[in-house]
């Protein structure tokens, strides 16, 4: 667990992030730094704003106040001198190209095979040659154990297989940062394990990951840091063995007790 680079610049740095949908304030001032190579698991009850926060990091949602920096660039904006201006959609698209994302509903492209899904962004967005992209895609498919499904369409795969292909698709752009938005919540219970195993492999390889999930077991085994969110705020964070075993905040204790009772 000494992978955490405690010095140097953080890869992700969120400051006082606010976000409202209409009159409903979902994020009420989030501060969070993620160091390169760190695996951060965000836990919290439904409606705590954890998914919204994740979606703000690659600007799928625009924030109302505060700032988010990824790899030294402010997401969605540019500061020139004293003047902060919104970026064009094209420039925002360029910023997203270093961030991989995995969705709860997989969101694979249903009209493309697994292989086509994986090479779509490397070829079409990053301008890699088809051959290089295919070679790397086959390497990724081998890593997730789905080489023989390269030419299968998403509909022909089980939910767990689809999500593993979606992870490979996100990895294919060689991202600096991976975002996981409840990657196992839409899966049948018996298929959760294979996806978590894939994610644990990645965590062990020094990839920077922010994972929003309900899987306490994954947090315990793979996280460098657990962040607990409630009511649009970070209420507690720390090493998993500390936060999960000995939560200091009453909300964390309540949330965890519910899961531990379920597990028992």
């Amino acid at each position: 667990m000494s992978r955490i680079a405690s010095e140097g610049a953080p890869l992700v740095s969120a400051r006082n992030v606010h976000k409202s949908f209409g009159h409903n304030e979902v994020l009420k001032g989030i501060d969070l730094d993620v160091m390169p190579g760190e695996v951060v698991v965000v836990l919290g009850p439904s409606g705590s704003g954890k998914s919204t926060f994740l979606r703000c990091i690659n600007h799928l949602e625009a924030i109302d106040r505060g700032s988010i920096m990824v790899a030294g660039e402010q997401i969605g904006y540019r500061l020139s001198g004293e003047r902060l201006t919104k970026l064009s959609p094209r420039a925002i698209a360029a910023q997203r190209r270093q961030i991989g994302m995995v969705f709860q509903q997989f969101n694979l492209f249903p009209h493309m095979t697994a292989l086509e899904n994986i090479i779509e962004a490397p070829v079409g967005v990053h301008g890699h040659s088809r051959k290089d992209a295919t070679d790397y895609a086959m390497e990724l498919l081998a890593r997730i154990g789905l080489t023989e499904k390269a030419n299968a369409y998403p509909r022909q795969l089980s939910g767990g297989q689809q999500q593993r292909v979606a992870i490979a698709r996100a990895l294919a752009i060689r991202p600096k940062l991976m975002l996981f938005d409840e990657p196992t919540s839409a899966l049948d219970p018996e298929l959760v394990g294979e996806v978590l195993a894939t994610m644990r492999d990645l965590a062990g390889q020094g990839l920077t990951m922010i994972v929003v999930t309900h899987e306490i077991g994954f947090a315990r085994e793979a996280a460098d840091r657990v962040v607990f969110m409630d009511g649009g705020l970070v209420v507690e964070q720390g090493r998993p063995e500390e936060v999960l075993a000995n939560p200091s905040h009453p909300r964390t204790r309540l949330f965890l007790s519910r899961f531990i009772r379920e597990a028992a």
């Binding site: 690659n58 799928l60 959609p89 094209r90 698209a93 360029a94 910023q95 997203r96 190209r97 961030i99 994302m101 969705f103 509903q105 969101n107 694979l108 492209f109 249903p110 009209h111 493309m112 095979t113 779509e120 962004a121 079409g124 967005v125 499904k149 030419n151 299968a152 369409y153 998403p154 509909r155 022909q156 795969l157 089980s158 767990g160 297989q161 752009i173 049948d188 018996e190 298929l191 394990g193 294979e194």
Partner: protein, 303 residues
């Protein structure tokens, strides 16, 4: 005791195996078939031997040069107007769905006007554009003129027909395409965004291919209406299929046989288009449940 009962039991199981079941004899359905066939055969017989249809005249004119020329005009006009209509319709649909108030407002105005007025009136207006605007010029608003044309040099029956048909078609296609784009799951746009695709690329590679499944069937419908809508251009002296048969029966007074020539040609075109539509629909259904192109892999829930 049990040894005697078991073969009996087996025999029962064999008899009850649904794989060996017979179809019940459906006398009612046979009777209905016989009745419908008899009535249709009789109707066909009556039509075939009715001298008023003038079948020899139909046969004589069916592949006449003037009719075939009219047929080419109808086909050409349909293809050109449809292609322009689909392209403008796509741009309108994208503009209509954009967050930009200016674009979506302009697209809405276009669709409102061209769907809200009869095609026949639009065609006549295009044809008589010169009475409204004797000259068409490109200039800086309220400033100097850069280029200018006489409207009568630009508007021939052909250009009036193409303009009228394609702009009207664009308005309808815009709504069909917009519906198709909206039918695609929002997660697809999000995934495209998350991968840093530009809006144009996301539309071209991800959204439109999936929208095609719901765009193709109504577009086939539009194409078939378009073939028949081209017959309206006969009012602005455009020599399409209908105009060509009219030109003949105005001389020979064989109205019904000549109309039968046109009807049969329209039916032939429509039939060919229906078959083509089936192929296109199957192509865009790939990746869907039941489609087994490329690789018949069935999902197996591996642990």
């Amino acid at each position: 005791m049990s040894s005697a009962a078991e073969p009996m039991h087996d025999r029962q199981a064999t008899l009850r195996d649904v794989a060996n079941a017979h179809r019940p004899v459906e006398w009612g359905r046979w009777l209905l078939w016989a009745f419908v066939l008899a009535v249709s055969a009789n109707f066909a017989w009556i039509v075939a031997w009715n001298p008023n249809f003038g079948w020899p005249v139909v046969a004589q004119w069916f592949t006449a040069e003037s009719i075939l020329r009219g047929l080419y005009v109808t086909l050409g006009l349909t293809v050109v107007a449809m292609v322009i209509g689909v392209i403008i319709g796509l741009l309108l649909a994208i503009a209509r769905l954009s967050d930009d108030r200016l674009f979506s407002g302009l697209a809405g105005l276009f669709i409102w006007f061209f769907r809200g007025t009869p095609l026949l009136v639009q065609l006549i207006f295009w044809y008589n554009l010169s009475t409204l605007f004797p000259e068409i010029s490109i200039s800086i608003p309220f400033g100097p003129t850069l280029v200018s044309w006489h409207t009568n040099d630009l508007i021939t029956p052909m250009t009036a027909a193409i303009a009228g048909l394609s702009l009207n078609e664009a308005a309808y296609m815009a709504e069909i395409i917009r519906g198709g784009l909206l039918s695609v799951d929002k997660g697809q746009t999000e995934a495209s965004d998350a991968f840093g695709m530009t809006r144009a690329r996301a539309l071209r590679r991800v959204i439109i291919p999936q929208a095609m499944r719901s765009i193709v069937p109504p577009t086939g419908n539009q194409l078939i209406s378009m073939i028949k809508a081209t017959s309206l251009v006969s009012v602005i002296a455009m020599a399409d299929l209908l105009y060509s048969v009219q030109a003949v029966y105005n001389r020979t007074f064989e109205v019904v046989p000549m109309l039968m020539v046109a009807v049969i040609w329209y039916l032939i075109i429509t039939t060919v288009l229906n078959i083509g539509q089936g192929f296109i629909e199957r192509y865009y259904a790939r990746g869907e449940r039941g489609a087994t192109e490329r690789m018949p892999v069935i999902a197996e829930a591996t642990p």
